[in-house]
């Protein structure tokens, strides 16, 4: 079972929800693997403090042009959808950061002048926090190709485990790569106009991807009812919301797991875990 915690708007509580659910699930005796798929800004390790076992560099293929073999025919530049390779009368230049590793250029080169080099896009790190398995990705600073690193994080799991993926915010390529292949998506939102507006876009995405989902309103009570109304109108599963409390925010700001520091949160998350897993298991039948 792969459960992904996503959102539209950033800062709604995806990491808070995903790490606390994962810890409770793991402590109940279930084998769990946590994937922090926000490879641009991983932060789950700040709460889970895993002991690291393995670090792996992740690379993408990169065209390397042998200028002596190149006949300057321009076919590589013609096929490239990303303007990553330019054919000049005297040389052919590759722009690494534009290349999407589609392999078009080396396939069409009539002189076989383009070799497959590689470039590093980032790394994955795997470890354990107690019995909880943990993997995250760290994207190389300045790197533009995010989804391949997210895919590497997603692949680093034992498929028999309950996998909980913490998605990056939004609905762009990194979020799509995280959600792809999930069994169930938990959308975390807040009861504000921005929360609702971005939730609608996220719901559209999840529906396009044909995945079952449920909505969790975090910081319930801090805004209005429009998210609840929207969920009712759309026939979306609305989970029991998490209340807005200052002490919760303070505990999170100290990097603590709120299921350990605030008893009402432990109770709320225990209920949430049962609710979500039940819905997810029903949806998969």
């Amino acid at each position: 079972m792969i459960l992904t915690v996503a959102s539209g708007k950033g800062g709604t509580g995806k990491t808070t929800v995903s790490v606390n659910l994962a810890v409770l699930a793991s402590r109940s005796g279930r084998p769990v693997h946590f994937c922090d798929c926000d490879v641009e800004e991983p932060n789950a390790h700040l709460f889970l403090n895993p002991r690291w076992d393995e670090k792996k560099q992740i690379t993408l293929p990169l065209p390397v042009v042998d200028q002596d073999l190149c006949s300057h025919c321009g076919k590589c530049a013609e096929i490239c959808e990303f303007n990553a390779i330019i054919s000049l009368p005297t040389k052919t230049i590759v722009f690494d950061d534009l290349c999407h590793a589609c392999s078009g250029c080396w396939l069409v080169c009539p002189e076989k002048a383009i070799a497959q080099g590689e470039r590093i896009i980032g790394e994955t790190e795997t470890g354990k926090a107690g019995d909880l398995h943990f993997t995250h990705g760290r994207l190389r600073i300045g790197e533009t190709q995010v989804p391949p690193l997210v895919e590497a994080v997603n692949k680093a799991v034992n498929p028999d485990h309950l996998v909980i993926r913490d998605a990056p915010p939004g609905v762009t390529c990194p979020a799509v790569a995280t959600i792809h292949g999930s069994d169930f998506v938990l959308l975390v939102t807040e009861p504000t106009p921005f929360g609702l507006s971005d939730l609608k876009v996220a719901v559209e995405l999840v529906r396009d991807m044909k995945l079952p989902c449920a909505v969790l309103v975090n910081r319930h009570g801090s805004g209005d009812d429009r998210v609840d109304e929207y969920c009712r109108e759309e026939g979306l599963h609305l989970l029991t919301g998490l209340p807005f409390r200052r002490d919760v925010a303070e505990s999170i700001s100290r990097g603590e797991l709120i299921v350990d520091t605030i008893p009402e949160m432990k109770t709320a998350f225990q209920g949430l875990l049962v609710e979500v897993l039940t819905l997810a298991e029903e949806a998969s039948r």
Partner: protein, 115 residues
């Protein structure tokens, strides 16, 4: 000899477009006859990345020997280096103004060409 001047419009009276990669039009002008062709750059304007690279490729493919524009960005600059095209930046006024200046020989290129 042909040159390219980036333009906001489709005629020689149009104001120069200071942009290259995301410039509106490239006017490919035969300096001797004054005849010209309008190259539409809407693909470049719409490109999310690599607009400068793409523009550089189009200039090279056109056979133009000089490019007159306001500013050439970093990727476009890299793409054009050693391309056989002389670059004249800081162009201003109308396309016709820059064409006249070019013909009079009063402009200095940013880079000189070695093939």
């Amino acid at each position: 000899m042909k040159i390219i001047i980036t333009s906001k419009g489709k005629t020689l009276d149009s104001p120069v477009d200071p942009r290259f990669g995301r410039g509106a039009f490239f006017l490919l002008i035969d300096v001797d006859s004054g005849e010209f062709e309008v190259m539409d750059n809407s693909e470049g304007i719409a490109a999310s990345h690599g607009a400068g690279v793409q523009a550089g490729q189009r200039v090279v493919n056109s056979g133009a020997k000089a490019l007159l524009t306001g500013h050439v960005g970093p990727k476009a600059g890299q793409a054009m280096e050693g391309s056989g095209v002389a670059i004249y930046s800081h162009a201003e006024g109308t396309v016709q103004d820059m064409l006249d200046k070019f013909r009079s020989g009063s402009l200095t290129p940013d880079t000189t060409e070695e093939g």
